[in-house]
Symmetry: C2
Subunit: 401 residues, 2 copies
């Protein structure tokens, strides 16, 4: 393994970490502070967090807690995996309590052989595991007009897991798509039967019928026992509690692709089927709501992702956008997945603004919010992937801009 | 994404899955079984598993539950990540309850500048995240004489996480190692002050001071708030609740590298400092304790890993070792990490024995248990990486051989 810090970064650390170390007491060869002498807790069948770890999803207020969302605490995240217990949620009628021994997937419509699959049958089929993000297209809705104060509030409707399941193409091939089948209506088993229309080209490309998440069974909030994973496309079409797939000639024009999940433009028209989540990034450390203990070295860290493939580059500015430095990317990178970026920084103690911008493998560069607004106005609601800036005040506190 | 099944595998599926599908009821275009019509559960701040997911660590019986072990249910695993709640445990005096605002790491001995690090200071330093396995050298102890009946019991003291932390080299460079410093004594804050001696070459290579695991804070069972990660080396030297590092000229000859964690050879001598975990694999599906519903297609799945680097190849035999087929490996692969392998199989219904053998990037091939015993006898206790076989009986039940 190579050292993560660039040589320049490490020198900056050596120069400036002295103060931080001295403030920790310096070294005298004596014993460090804490050292219990009694036996600790025993082993357990399913572990829990330390009582000192209080990271939690933020629950956005709604009239009914079943039609609601919760946001991942990105400011506390490490690496690129989101713990399943902290994966963001967006439910339209709550989390159904499904028994996998009864749950079935029906595949019908314009196919040669309508089929039903039990969970046992799906689990016998050839499987793959991939690390991919899922992001609600309503993520960063706040940024259209009133920038949110923390990374969780601004960007926390995005999470990343190792997903395991069966390629959707496998079951489509098994059923035999008729030539006129151009869309797949995908319906969940939640009470509202949340449904979306998926173009057949994407269905045959990289979609998965997912039953595993981060090494164990899919979590109920993510669709247990079966969800559709549509890599890189807006979260809503990654239908949870998947129950019916129907091959059709045209889209179904469901509620969630007409009155919702369309982008209202300044001329009053709506863009429909804007599926891909474009390249985006957010600095998680330091980010809004955090406080720096004082001037000196720290590592700027953040997350970047693109629904189009790999993140190729993340640039960071620590001077309000005047100059940009290329951050180090955590390797190996995965397409359509969180990519952790890191940049050493020695903070002078003066007030400044920090921000990041991502470039993906298509060459697309994350725009500013102003650039987005110039094209789409402020009523677009969905798909805000603008650059997010944080202000570092002289007292070390970090706020939104 | 490429389809995970080889063309040959997919054809086998198409040919033989018919029976499985028919047994699921066939397709008639009717609605699938379950479809709740009431609102489900609301969002939550920290999620839990489905009540239908009962995977749990197996707790090995010991006189005191604090000096104990628990094993990962590998037969239920998906992909390559082990959920933190199911990561195996091996504690020598229980899990200490450490407050990260008080916990410190002391680095002293043969260094120019003895140093103390608070957790806050460590978290400001340049960090990396890597996916790596940890395996207890006592894993598969059963296989020396009495093969265990399940993958969990035979091989479950191995787990794999995304770990985040500071390269050990960074703090050693900061302190300035004296030329005579050849070992690092690493001591935990558990009541027994579990300690091991680490050669300085490895300390300067790829070791990490880890505070993050699978996207959140390190779990208490894995050393919260700080553990030493020594990639590819036996679990015991990955010291948890890390509190003291002391640079020395020679090893410390602690209890856990003399009376324990040494390999007793047939001539009565003991091999000491046998650190690296050699290439190993185990079939997780189908594995002991599971039952096949009947003849036909299924995917054989398993895990392989090597403390020397990448897994290059996994071969699977479904005929008692007469012939071997090369399995597909989950990409991307990571060095010193779990690698998922998969092979399509159409079971005829006849009794047979299945097994896997791994080859790592050094060219090392996982040996049979008989080959291990021929060299090391049966009292070696640690470091059993022999091939593990499962017997599939005609009634579909799977047992150990």
């Amino acid at each position: 393994m190579k050292d993560a810090s660039s040589r320049r970064g490490f020198l900056a650390l050596t120069t400036s970490l002295g103060a931080a170390l001295a403030s920790c007491g310096g070294g005298d060869g004596g014993a460090p502070a804490e050292a219990p002498s009694r036996l600790g807790k025993p082993v357990s069948s399913y572990g829990e967090r330390s009582r000192f770890s209080a990271e939690r999803r933020f629950i956005a207020p709604t009239k009914t807690p079943e039609q609601a969302a919760s946001l991942t605490p990105l400011q506390d995240s490490e690496g690129v995996i989101t713990p399943s217990a902290l994966h963001f949620e967006r439910h339209h009628s709550g989390i159904p309590d499904l028994d996998p021994s009864v749950h079935e997937l029906l595949l019908h419509g314009l196919v040669e052989r309508p089929l039903r699959f039990s969970m046992d049958a799906l689990k016998r089929m050839p499987s793959v595991s991939v690390i991919r993000f899922v992001e609600c297209s309503g993520n960063s809705r706040s940024e259209w007009s009133k920038p949110a104060p923390t990374a969780q509030m601004s960007s926390g409707m995005a999470s990343c897991s190792e997903w395991t399941g069966v390629p959707l193409r496998t079951v489509l091939d098994e059923a035999g798509l008729k030539p006129e089948a151009k869309w797949l209506i995908c319906e969940g088993a939640d009470a509202c039967r949340m449904a979306r229309s998926l173009p057949i080209e994407k269905a045959l490309d990289d979609c998965l019928l997912v039953y595993g998440q981060n090494g164990e069974a899919l979590r109920p909030e993510q669709g247990y026992p079966l969800r559709l994973l549509v890599p890189g496309w807006e979260g809503n079409i990654n239908v949870k509690w998947l129950r019916v797939l129907k091959a059709t000639a045209g889209p179904s024009e469901t509620r969630d692709e007409t009155s919702k999940y369309t982008d209202l433009m300044p001329d009053g028209s709506s863009r429909q089927f804007t599926f891909a989540m474009e390249a985006k990034s957010v600095i998680t450390t330091p980010s809004g709501g955090q406080a720096l203990p004082g001037p000196g070295f720290l590592e700027i860290r953040g997350l970047a992702w693109s629904g189009r493939g790999l993140i190729e580059k993340v640039e960071v500015s620590v001077d309000g956008g005047s100059t940009w430095e290329v951050a180090q990317l955590q390797e190996p990178r995965f397409p359509k997945a969180f990519t952790r970026f890191r940049l050493p920084w020695s903070w002078s103690g003066a007030e400044t603004t920090i921000q990041s911008r991502a470039t993906d493998e298509t060459g697309y560069i994350q725009p500013t919010v102003q650039e987005l607004v110039a094209v789409r106005g402020t009523e677009s609601s969905y798909h805000n992937n603008g650059v997010k800036a944080w202000k570092v005040l002289a007292d070390g506190s970090v706020t939104n801009v």
